[in-house]
Symmetry: C2
Subunit: 399 residues, 2 copies
C-alpha cells in the first residue's frame, strides 16, 4: 500500500519538531515564552459566545452548502461598509481561510501548474498547492527591500505557460508588508494582462498601522474575473477556534466549480456561523480600532526591543502581527534547539519560528526567524530580550 | 483562465436542480413533503448545547491539529465501550465524515487510481475521489439480491493494478444493507490479500435493526494496517450542523500523511468538539437505544406504506435511514418534475431523490429512487402515500 506522490510532496509542520524539546524544557522547570505562534491572547468578543448560547433550534441541522443566509448577509454588509459592494452569491462560507484556499487550488490547479507566491510565504500554502499536484514558484524578495514584491520586474519574468495564479497575503504573513494602492492596482493589471487568478489572502485586513483606509482586491471591479479573496473571522475577531472563513469572488464560473466541493462536504459548522454573523452585525467600528491599536502597541514594543539587539535586521511591520528578522547567527534552527536545551535567563527561555519553512529553498531562511507579536507589550518585550540574550550566549558558545 | 480537469469531473448535487421547482410548488400554495433529504428531525441532545454554553475560556483558540484531547479521549472511550480498543493517536478529528474522506483520498490516490465502491453509492464519494484524480470502479449489486456486495465473486474480478482501496458504507447509504460478521471478515481478508485500504464509512453505526451487536471494521486487528474508519457525530447524535467527524486508523504511516493535511488546515471547530465530547461522555446507552427504536418505527412505517403501492420493489432496510426503491415508472427524474409541477393531493406533494446520481452509469438508477425516512412515522406514511398517488397519476397521464 503506497501513498500519493502529492501527499509526499507535502510536509509536517516544521514547528512540530521542537515540541518534544519544549516539553523537556518545561519539565526542567523553565518558563517558555512564545514568539512562534499566531494565537492572539486578545479576548474573543462576548457577542460570539452570547449568540451561540442563544441558539434556539432544537435540532442542530446542516447549514446550506454555500453558508447560512444570515452569515452570508452579515459578510456582505461588512464588505459594503468598507466600500466593496458584493452580493451573497459572491461568497461561500468555508472552514476558515484554510478551506477557502484548498477549494480554490483544487478548482484551478492541474498537475504541473504553478502559482506565483511572494517569498517568504505562509508555509501552509505549500500544502494546499502541492496536494493538488501544483507547485509554488516563488517571487523572490529581499530583506533589504523590506520584502516588497509588487513590481513588474519581479513578477513578469516568472510567468510562463504553467502559471495559473498569483497568491499573496496582504497584509503579509510572515513579512508584515502592506501593499500600497498603486501596488494593488499593479497586481490587478498583471493578473488581467496575463489571465491569471489573483488570490488575495486578506485575513489580516484590519490589522494595519499605516493609517491607510482598509483595502481589498475587491476594489478593482475591472479585475473581477481574476480576483479571489480569502477571508476569515479568525484574526479579525481573535476567534481562531471558530472555523469560519469565506471564499469571495465575482467570477461566476469559479464559484460554480467551488460549489461542487462545498456541496460535497455538505456545509460548515452552523454554530460558528451564528457567532460570526453576530460579530459582524454587532461590533462597532470602535472594536476594530481598539484591536488595531492594541496590535500597534505590540508592534511598537517588538520593534523597540529588537532595536536593542546588536546585529539584527528588520523593517517595522506595516500590518498583520508578524515580522521576519535576520539574526546574526549561522542557523536559526540550531539557535532554537540551543534556546530550548542550553539557554536560560532567570528561569526563562523563548521560542521563535526558524525561517527555513517560509522559503522554497530553506537555505534562504537559515539566518531568519519569524516573530509573532500576539501577546501584551510587556510579554513581547521580555520575550525579545530573551532572544537577544540567547543569541549572545549562542554565539559566545560557538566562539 | 481554465479550471482543473479534476474539478470538471465532479458535479453539482443532482438534488439542486429540483430546488427552483420546489420553490414554484410552494409559491402555488402546495405543501411539499420530503423523502429526499437526510436531515433527521430528532432533537440534538441538550448536553451538546449545554456544554457549548458553558465554554469558559475567554479566547476561542485554535484546537490542536489532530483534535482537542478531550474530544479524542471521549471518542476513544466510546470505542472502548463498544469493545474496540484504540488509542488517541489512532484518531484525527475532522470536519465531519466528509473531511475524513477527503483526507484519506488525498493521501492514497494518484491520477488514474481506482477505488472499489459498492453501487449504488453515496453520490459525494464521487466528488471526494474525482477531485484527487482517482476514480470509482463500482462493485455492481442488484436490487434482486438486496444490494449485497460482500462476496469474492463480486469484488475480486474488479481488482487490478490501479486499485488502491475499497470504500464501503456500513450500515449502507443508500441501500440500508448491514454487513454480517462473516461479510465483514471477508472484506478484511480481501483487503489484506490484495494489499488495499479498506475504508469503512460507519457514521450510521448505531442505526441497525437486525438486533446484532454494534460493529466496526476496527474489530479485525489482523487487518489494522488496511482498515480506515470514517466516523461522525452527525447522525449518531442528530447533530448534522456540528461538523465533527473522525478519521480512525491504526496504520501509523497513513496517519502521519493525514497529519500533514490536518496541520495545513490548522484545526477543526473548537466549540463543536466541546459539544461532541460531552455527548460521548454523558449520554447513556438508553439514548442510543431510544434513537434506534425511533428509526425502527420510521422504518416500519415506510415499509408498511410502500407495501401498499402496486409495482414497487424493495427490501426492508437493515440499518441507516434510507432505502433504494424500484418504481414502476420509466424515469424517476421525470416523475419528480411531474410531482412538483403537475401533481397534488389535498394540497400536498412529495420529493424523493431520483436514483441516477447513485450509480456510475445513471441509466442503472433511472427506475429507482432513494427514500430517506427521517421524520415521524405519520409524516413518513403520508409522504409515501403521496408518492403512490403520484406514480398512479404519472403513469395514467402518459397512457
Amino acid at each position: 500500500m503506497r501513498f500519493s506522490s502529492k501527499i509526499q510532496r507535502c510536509e509536517l509542520s516544521p514547528v512540530r519538531k521542537f515540541y518534544p524539546y519544549e516539553l523537556a524544557a518545561v519539565e526542567k522547570g523553565l518558563k517558555v515564552r512564545h514568539l512562534n505562534i499566531g494565537q492572539p491572547d486578545i479576548e474573543t468578543p462576548r457577542v460570539f459566545f452570547d449568540a451561540v448560547s442563544k441558539f434556539a433550534d432544537t435540532v442542530l441541522a446542516y447549514a446550506p452548502a454555500p453558508g447560512e443566509t444570515y452569515f452570508l448577509e452579515a459578510t456582505r454588509r461588512y464588505y459594503e461598509s468598507l466600500g466593496f459592494p458584493i452580493s451573497c452569491e459572491d461568497i461561500l462560507a468555508t472552514y476558515g481561510g484554510s478551506e477557502a484556499l484548498q477549494i480554490v487550488m483544487s478548482c484551478i490547479l492541474e498537475e504541473g501548474d504553478e502559482v506565483l507566491v511572494p517569498e517568504p510565504f505562509y508555509p501552509n500554502y505549500t500544502t494546499f498547492i502541492n496536494v493538488t499536484g501544483g507547485k509554488i514558484r516563488p517571487i523572490p524578495t529581499t530583506a533589504e527591500n523590506g520584502y516588497r514584491f509588487a513590481t513588474r520586474q519581479q513578477i513578469e519574468p516568472l510567468i510562463n505557460e504553467h502559471t495559473r495564479a498569483i497568491l499573496m497575503t496582504n497584509p503579509g504573513n510572515p513579512t508584515g508588508v502592506v501593499l500600497t494602492q498603486e501596488e494593488m492596482r499593479l497586481m490587478a493589471d498583471i493578473a488581467k494582462e496575463h489571465e491569471l487568478f489573483l488570490i488575495s489572502d486578506e485575513v489580516y485586513r484590519e490589522i494595519v498601522y499605516t493609517g491607510d483606509k482598509l483595502s481589498s482586491m475587491l476594489a478593482f471591479a475591472d479585475a473581477a474575473d481574476n480576483v479571489v479573496v480569502i477571508d476569515s473571522v479568525s484574526k479579525r475577531f481573535s476567534a481562531t477556534g471558530a472555523r469560519v472563513g469565506a471564499l469571495i469572488s465575482r467570477n461566476r464560473a469559479l464559484m460554480d466549480e467551488a460549489m461542487k466541493l462545498c456541496q460535497g462536504r455538505l456545509c460548515t459548522a452552523t454554530l460558528d456561523q451564528v457567532g460570526a454573523a453576530a460579530m459582524y452585525d454587532r461590533l462597532k467600528p470602535a472594536y476594530y480600532t481598539s484591536v488595531r491599536e492594541e496590535y500597534r502597541r505590540r508592534r511598537d514594543a517588538v520593534v523597540a526591543a529588537l532595536s536593542k539587539i546588536p546585529g539584527v535586521e528588520f523593517r517595522s511591520p506595516e500590518g498583520a502581527f508578524y515580522l521576519m528578522v535576520t539574526l546574526p547567527v549561522d542557523d536559526t534552527e540550531k539557535l532554537q534547539y540551543f534556546l530550548l536545551q542550553e539557554f536560560q535567563d532567570q528561569g526563562e527561555t523563548v521560542m521563535v519560528t526558524p525561517g527555513d519553512g517560509f522559503f522554497s529553498d530553506p537555505a534562504l531562511g537559515r539566518n531568519k526567524v519569524r516573530i509573532a507579536y500576539v501577546t501584551n507589550p510587556e510579554d513581547v518585550t521580555r520575550a525579545i530580550e530573551l532572544l537577544g540574550l540567547g543569541i549572545q550566549a549562542y554565539n559566545a558558545r560557538k566562539a
